[in-house]
Structure formats: structure tokens, C-alpha cells
Symmetry: C2
């Protein structure tokens, strides 16, 4: 819910004070930037620009909102000209005369460099401060967090954002899904984000699904058509039970498990009957190696007999590195003993309280995980839940309020580059191409702002 | 934006799987609770219930949403009965048969105790899991954080939530304002939250306002009417300048400052002219004791001559304990030397990166701050940005899936109470009154759920 009211009260009191001082139309330039990279890192992914542009493109106060602003300002404010200046005029003028230049969304950016430059009548631009800072702050933070997770996980792994239930509010969850995708994740579990932004959706089932079943006896509809539609297996449960016995009798696998959990088996069979082409099972409700993995394999092998290929397993607790390696060995043994093509490559997803540090630790230990489902630490940015974005006045009426260098680099010229944080690290670089990072995203219009912003609507 | 789509994909895949297994109507009970208090503390404030009830009260899928869910499910799903079961039927049935009991919002709660108990057809209740966990998680976390800040600050201090620009997304900001107020804050700077929830609004001006002025010369409209309307001061600036000279010549104050910053003075005068009844100045743009406080006092004294009472100052950097004590001494000296009633009690607000720990440190050092404006640490719950709320199946078809004690305590009977975390701490208590903590917040309706939840719309 982005409305022009999503701002601090003092943006309105300042606008009124600018107007009272006759300064509201003075041309001001504000820079939006941050002072330090998050997570102790050396880069930030710039995100949230689209939302800022959307805000200004749709910037209008409703009559109701204007009445609320009036009521919120001190009673001494002069509001006698209300009838003269209709809200439509206010709404039309607010954004017309503002220009926004910015670095493109998704670019890697650094501290103290302007990410956005907003120019316009001081009273109008001032109104955008809190909203813009809010929209850039979390978006850039979580996109950066996602990029850092991608960097540690490596390019070949599937990264799934599973953070909705831990995100800071419903919209926090939607922003998280959007900006994690921008930062390099492959998919989300968040259906609303999938619908809004076209992000691929992923999901399987929870522990509740497994524990809601008692035994395979309660499954009444047991038949399953083969993948190509050519035949029907009348009793899929028996086929699964037969595979379970075969696995138990196997030389290689027999010692690993005895009786598996029947409530879990019932849940897996039911899930496979519902989604024979997309069978992915959560295997840690009872015991991963003694029940979950054997039960999964029995169902997967029965599906294989009907031409279906199971997707894989999900591990959500325990020693993920060890369990993934054991599971992989189990799959490979089946591949070898029963000659099931590619069974050894069955996908393993892990998803228990993962973050950059645990991903790194898993890499060091060695693991067989193909996909990571990451929630809490990713979406709340646990390591640092806020980025210090600021919105500073740098110029008013062509008078600088912060000194800026006017040097422009040219291609082919040798230039001295400084490390952004370590003064002693420097290098000469000859740029092959020089690109203007700031582009115009909101051109504004000519003319001056003549309305009274807050007092007079 | 709370829609039934704000959930994980697997809630829908499970609903479909329950239906395929013929289990979708089985009566299930889910408990929502958390396992550990946040911030290393011993209590949590329960919040977010109203949003959960609103979600269920307005639970309906649009045609568009149903089409999206269908498209997101694996293609093997049976959707041939779509025409039979209109979305209206699906929408009507989803919530009818669900009962919700919960502890009242705002109550202090403890780990492992059910906060909400949701009962209904397993496939329907399962659909609520992610949304409910999301809505309770951050709400309870930030309400608890606010309560902890209130506890450290003490009852007499004014607590202002200033977190919007650092909150995790726009809606994160609105939730923060709402639940900080519930947790014991007095006001917010967030205009949208003020409008939505009637929370008192507070705000003054920013550093940009101060630096946007050059000198008092640029102020063209210099007159100010007295508070009672009986006379007009034609040149308020001269009156302020006269006070500044008086302060400079004073025996007690003279040594503290020399020339104050004129751009700051111009900003303060302008702000006072705009809000003579609500003059609150940010005094740390240049130098608090050598410029900000003397400038503020000169303006406040000129206002006082016209019958207005200045509100106070805001400190946003530096050693807040020291600066507040120095400012208080300055105010008291004026009170004494010039006989300005209550000037010594002028309000001091502090607002720089405050949190529980810094509030505690300020208390230990001794300070003269009357109001705290708290942002980043409060709203992002920096110390622990997520609460581990879970949603667990405890019963299905009257079969327990988690063992629960059935003991009910009675008034007048001696009962043994255990400390929730320390097993060795116990005490006998004779309750004078026994109150049922769980109340019914959504009564549901009789009848069974007969539609196909996801597959058939």
C-alpha cells in the first residue's frame, strides 16, 4: 500500500514552513545514497527504483487524505485558501516539476555515491524523502543479501526463497520475494509474489501433511494411470510395499533400515497419487535414513515403473551435509543395484535456518545438496536488518550545500582508482568505455510550481 | 495487501493432495505458538490477531486468482470439475466451517503455549498456515520490542516511533507503527498509520530544512501576531536578534557561545513563524551548545514575548546524555536570569540510533531527556528480526497428534507453578480467580465442507 501519506509528518510541516517562508518554489537538488555497505561487505545491489517512480507517477492525494493532513497540522496553520486551490490542482502540480535521475535498478553500487538525484521545488521534493528512503532501503538490502547467498552457493545450485512466514509483515514478504529474485534467486514459495511478478513458484508439503496420515489403509483410491496413459496400476500401494520389501532385502541397503513409519508412507503415497509428475517428499518428520529416504525411494521406484520420474527429497533438520551425502549414497546404490537410470541424481533440497555462514560451512564440509530453500535469515536480513539510506539536500537555488566534484572521466585516459574503503589500495586504470551511470527516469516538465502545497488545498 | 494468495504454494498443493486422498473434510486442530521469547527476554506481547480474523472474514479468491492457482499447480491435476464448482461456492465454504479460539491481542504470552487454536476441515485450515504465521510473527515481535523499550525508558518518558524510513517495506512501516503503539509507544511520525489507526502524530523538521536557508535576510514576511491576537510584532527577526544579544551579554550564558550560525537561525525563525504554537527545533545541524541551543532560546524567548510557549529541542547526534544536561542547564539559567516561567522545563527530545541498550546506558549516565524518538532498532527488531512462530497439527479426526494435558485449574485450589524456563524455580499459588485465556474469535458454522478446494473451482 504505497500512498503519498506513507511519509513522516514532518515532511508536511516542512512543506508548510517552506511555503510560509516563500521558499517552496526554490529549485532544490537532493541526493539519495548510503554510507556503508551492508553485511560487512564491499558492494550493494541497488533496488526499489521502480516503486519510487510508480509512487511519483501515481502521486495524488484523495480529498479524504487532504482533510487528514489539514487536521494533523497545528491549528495555527493558515488554511483559509482551501476553497481556492482544489485538490486536483495540488495533485497535478506535485509531480510535474520534479526530475529524477538514477542508477539503473539491479546495478552494483557503492557507499557515498548518489543512487538517485531528485530535483524540483524544495517543498515538493521534500515530500518524497521518507517514502523514497523506505522504498530503496529494504529493497536494496534484501537484493544484496540474495546476491551474497548466490555468491556463496555458487551458480549451479537452485536457490528458493521460502521466507514469507518470517517476513516483516505481509508486504515485507512480497518485497522480499521480488528483490530476492532480482538478487539471483531462482524461485519463491510465495504465491502472491508469483502472481504479481511472474516469479517461478516452488513448494512441496509440510510436516503437518505427513503427520495428518495414520496408515496406508486409509487411502481408498489406490489406482494410478501410467505416465503415457497406456495402462493403469490398480493398487499403487501394493506396488510401493513391494518395492519397500525389495529394498529391505537388498544386500547394500538392507542393513540401513527396518520397519519404516507407516503414517509417513501413507502421506508419501497420497502425495504421489496427487502429483505423480512432481513427487518431492519432506523426509525428516520421523527419521531421515531409517524411514524418510527408504519410504521416498519405494514410492519413487513404484512411480518409475509407471514411467514417472520423482523430483526428490527435502531435508529440513539435522546435519544437512551428512544426511545429504547418506541420501545420495542410497540413491546411487539403487541406481546401481536396480539399474534405474539417473536415480543416483535424484534432487536433494535442504531448508533449515540456512544463511550465508551455514552455506559456506556446508561447502567446506562437502555435501550433496542441489537446492537450498532459504527463509528467515534471507528475508529479514538477520545479519543487518536495515540499510542506512539517506536523502540529503545538496543544492538550493544553484547554491551548493554539499561540495561535489565536477570531474568527468573520458575513455582512453589513464585514471587513478581508489579502493572505496581502504585508502592505501589504489590502481591506475585505462577505461575502454565510459558510461553515464545516472539516467533520467522521470523527466518532469517545465514551469514553476505555483500552488500552496499543504496549507491551501 | 492481505489476500488469500499471500501464502506458500505448498498450502495449495497439500489441499489438492488432501482432496485426492479423500481427507479434505477431516476435522483438524492446529495450534499456533512460538518456542522461545525474543530478545533473550522472558515475555512476548501477542499481536496480529485482528489481521488474522480480518483475513478469514474477507477470505475469497477472485476468478483471476483461481485461474492463477490452477496454472501454478502441476498440469497433472484433475481440473475437469471446474465448471461444476463456481468460485463463489469455494469462497463461501472456505471459512464457514472454521473455528478460531485465541488469547486476546495485547496479552503477555509465553513460549510453547497455544496462542491460537484453529479447527476445521484439514484442507481449509491448512490454507491459513502461512498467512497466519506471517501476520502474528512480526506483529508480536515488534509489539514486544516496543514494550521492552517502554520498560527501560520508564513510564514518565514520551516514546515516539520514528521508524518508517528504515522499516522493511512500506507495509512493514505501517505494521511497525500500529504494533509499537500497542506495545506502549505514545505517538508515531508515520502519517499513513496516523490516518489508518488514529495513532497520535509527532514530527518537527529535518537537517535539510536547516541547511536549505542561507540567512535571515531571505525571510520577507517578518510579522507575527501575538498568541491572544491583541497585537502584532512587525519584525519578529529583530526581536529574535535582540534576545540573542541579551543572551550573549548574560553573565551566566555569555561565555558559552559567540556568533551562532545564521542559516540555522533563519530556519528556526521561519519554522516559528509557520508554527508559533508548536515550535520544536532540531539543534544539532552545526553545533548544539554554540549555535543550536542559543538560536532556539532566542526564538523561544521572542515567541514567549508574544504569549507563545515553545515546545523544545531535538538532539540527533553526539553525546545525548551530556548535551541534554548542558541544554537543561542553559534553559534553567534563562528561567532564573530572565524569570521566564517554566523555561527550565523546556522539552528535550533525543533521536539518534536509540535502542534498549542505549536507553539503559543513558539512564545510568544520567540525562535530561523527556522524549525519545526511536527508529531503526525498534521497527526492524535489530536484535532479533524474526519470531519463530509455528503452526502445528495437534489433532485430526479426534486423534491427538501432540499430547496435551487436560488438567483444568480451579479457583481456591493450591497449584504448583513452574518457571517457564528454569525447572528448579517453583512456587505454590492459590488462585483467587481463574480465567479462560482462550476466547472464541471466529465461531464458524455447522455443516461439513463439501467443495473441492483447489482442484475444482
Amino acid at each position: 500500500m504505497v500512498t503519498p501519506l506513507l511519509t513522516d509528518l514532518y515532511q508536511f510541516t516542512m512543506a508548510y514552513a517552506y511555503w510560509k517562508a516563500g521558499k517552496h518554489n526554490e529549485r532544490a537538488v537532493f541526493d539519495l545514497y548510503f554510507r556503508r555497505n551492508p553485511f560487512g561487505g564491499e558492494y550493494t545491489v541497488f533496488a526499489g527504483l521502480e516503486e519510487c517512480i510508480k509512487l511519483i507517477a501515481n502521486f495524488r492525494f484523495t480529498e479524504d487524505e487532504i482533510a487528514f493532513i489539514k487536521a494533523s497540522l497545528p491549528s495555527s496553520c493558515e488554511v483559509e485558501s482551501i476553497e481556492d486551490c482544489k485538490s486536483r490542482k495540488l495533485n497535478a502540480l506535485c509531480w510535474k516539476n520534479v526530475e529524477i535521475h538514477a542508477i539503473s535498478e539491479g546495478f552494483v553500487v557503492f557507499p557515498k555515491i548518489p543512487l538517485m538525484r531528485i530535483e524540483g521545488p524544495v517543498a515538493v521534493v521534500q515530500l518524497l524523502e521518507t517514502s523514497f528512503v523506505n522504498l530503496i532501503n529494504y529493497a536494496s538490502l534484501v537484493a544484496t543479501n540474495a546476491a551474497r547467498h548466490r555468491f556463496v552457493a555458487g551458480k549451479s545450485k537452485l536457490l528458493l526463497e521460502f521466507g514469507l512466514r518470517r517476513a516483516q509483515g505481509p508486504d515485507g514478504g512480497i518485497s522480499a520475494s521480488k528483490y530476492c529474485y532480482m538478487g539471483g534467486f531462482d524461485a519463491t514459495s510465495n504465491v502472491a509474489a508469483g502472481k504479481l511478478f511472474g516469479i517461478p513458484l516452488r513448494g512441496t508439503h509440510s510436516h503437518a501433511f505427513v503427520s495428518s496420515f495414520m496408515s496406508p489403509d486409509e487411502i481408498t483410491e489406490k489406482s494410478l494411470q501410467s505416465c503415457d496413459g497406456s495402462n493403469v496400476c490398480e493398487d499403487f500401494i501394493s506396488s510401493v510395499q513391494a518395492w519397500l520389501s525389495k529394498l529391505k532385502r537388498s544386500h547394500v541397503l538392507g542393513g540401513i533400515f527396518g520397519e519404516t513409519n507407516q503414517s509417513e508412507l501413507a502421506a508419501f503415497v497420497s502425495y504421489a497419487l496427487a502429483f505423480p509428475k512432481n513427487f518431492l517428499a519432506l523426509v525428516d518428520t520421523y527419521d531421515v535414513m531409517r524411514s524418510g529416504v527408504p519410504n521416498f525411494c519405494a514410492v519413487a521406484l513404484a512411480l518409475n515403473d509407471l514411467g514417472y520420474k520423482a523430483v526428490g527429497i527435502r531435508l529440513d533438520s539435522g546435519d544437512l551435509a551428512y544426511l545429504s551425502c547418506e541420501s545420495r549414497r542410497f540413491f546411487q546404490a539403487i541406481d546401481k543395484e536396480f539399474g534405474v537410470l539417473d536415480f543416483g541424481k535424484t534432487s536433494i533440497t535442504a531448508s533449515n535456518d540456512l544463511n550465508e555462514v551455514t552455506l559456506d560451512a556446508l561447502n567446506k564440509q562437502g555435501h550433496e545438496i542441489d537446492a537450498f530453500g532459504i527463509g528467515t535469515h534471507l528475508v529479514t536480513c538477520y545479519g543487518q536488518p536495515a540499510l542506512g539510506v539517506v536523502f540529503k539536500l545538496v543544492e538550493i537555488n544553484n547554491q551548493p550545500r554539499i561540495k561535489l566534484s565536477e570531474d568527468v572521466s573520458k575513455a582512453g585516459e589513464r585514471i587513478l582508482c581508489r579502493h572505496p574503503f581502504n585508502e592505501s589500495k589504489r590502481a591506475y586504470v585505462v577505461p575502454q568505455r565510459v558510461e553515464e551511470l545516472m539516467k533520467c527516469f522521470w523527466p518532469g516538465r517545465s514551469g514553476t510550481y505555483s500552488g500552496v502545497l499543504v496549507a491551501a488545498p
